[in-house]
Amino acid sequence: MSNNGENQGSVSKLTLKVQRYNPDRDKAPYMQEFTLPFRKGMTVLDGLLYIRENIDSSLAFRASCRMGICGACAMLINNLPRLACHTPVEEIGEFTLEIKPLPNFAIVKDLVPDTSSMFEKHASVKPYLMRDDQEEMEHPTAEFVQSPDELESYLQFAYCIKCGACVAACPTSATGKLYLGPQALTQAYRYCGDSRDNKSGERISAVDPYYGVWGCHFAGACSQVCPKGVDPALAIQLLRRKVFAQSLGGKERTPSPVAAPPTGSKEKIPVPEFTVTQDDRS
């Protein structure tokens, strides 16, 4: 572990080189260095919060949940897109970190990227269930039946938190502004692969153009940086296979049926003896 010549145990200072840019004042981004106290278990987000609270309150970055769920704090940390809240400094192994906003997105201010293009592309691939039985979709009577195997065929791709790390890592997104990007294409496959859906043809026509699924060159960087293990590279290749199969005349699947209404004959599970009942409390 390299740490600027000091042993990890004795390190007391952390240096963060942060890219700054204020559109009202600056013509171009520049790097600013902050030195702050280091403590064990500190994440990069902890460091940024420390700077904002104690050194420079004008530092702009986006963060919310602090536990890798909201996806707001994705940024380029030491040349790799990561979630700041999910990245302990010790995991990187260096105590001088370079932090920049996610590339392949416009910069709003300092470390805040404009991810609206990603959300527009996400919406363009129709990321929701589509079925022929419109009446059941609008006035559902019961859940749709789905086996554990059918669930597992797309579940991995449903964990996307839309942080944009995959788009920032993608070399095709680096040049192709129109390219839908790994996030949107993965969500297209997430619904195409769902057994409850049977209108993947509509979704496929959205991803079939040159700026869609065929733009991927399978560098695999998206899967490496995904903080939730979604594996966009796999989803895009499976989507490609689906698009290819449809171009050869593949047909839509029959969607999962609606579950049969409960018969009411199921035996109730007996309440264990140790459970505190309402009578015990009174």
Binding site: S116, E152, A219, K228
Partner: protein, 146 residues
Amino acid sequence: MKAQSSERRYLENYLGIKGWVWGGRYRLERYLYTLHRISGLALLFYFLLHIAMNGFRLSSGESWTSLMDIFDTPIVKFGEYLVLAGFTFHALNGLRLILQELGYTLGRPKPPVYPYVDALERRRPIVFVMGGVIIILLVVFIFNFI
């Protein structure tokens, strides 16, 4: 897409072609992508050069012979070997990409359990086998150039 960036004075931050070459701290497959692009462009350049050089045959037999005499040097021989190496890599990696880009050999989606291992990493042995075959072929090709 809306041109929001210009309206709100957001700063464009696309990595551009630098994003193809400069990978950052990425793994093997990301650099195979870069090498595939570079070898592809190099092969294209070689083919153009090859066609131009063969054009000398149209003028006269002597000009062709004198051109070949100029090229009969160890540096050009090494260059030809590099072209063959580039072709071998591009062809074999291309076969891997054709198979994997249609979803073959990648396996099924798996529930993400930390530490996450994605499909490319699970299938890393394919890349190692490909690399082994390339090295064996390149060693064999050396004897053609000695």
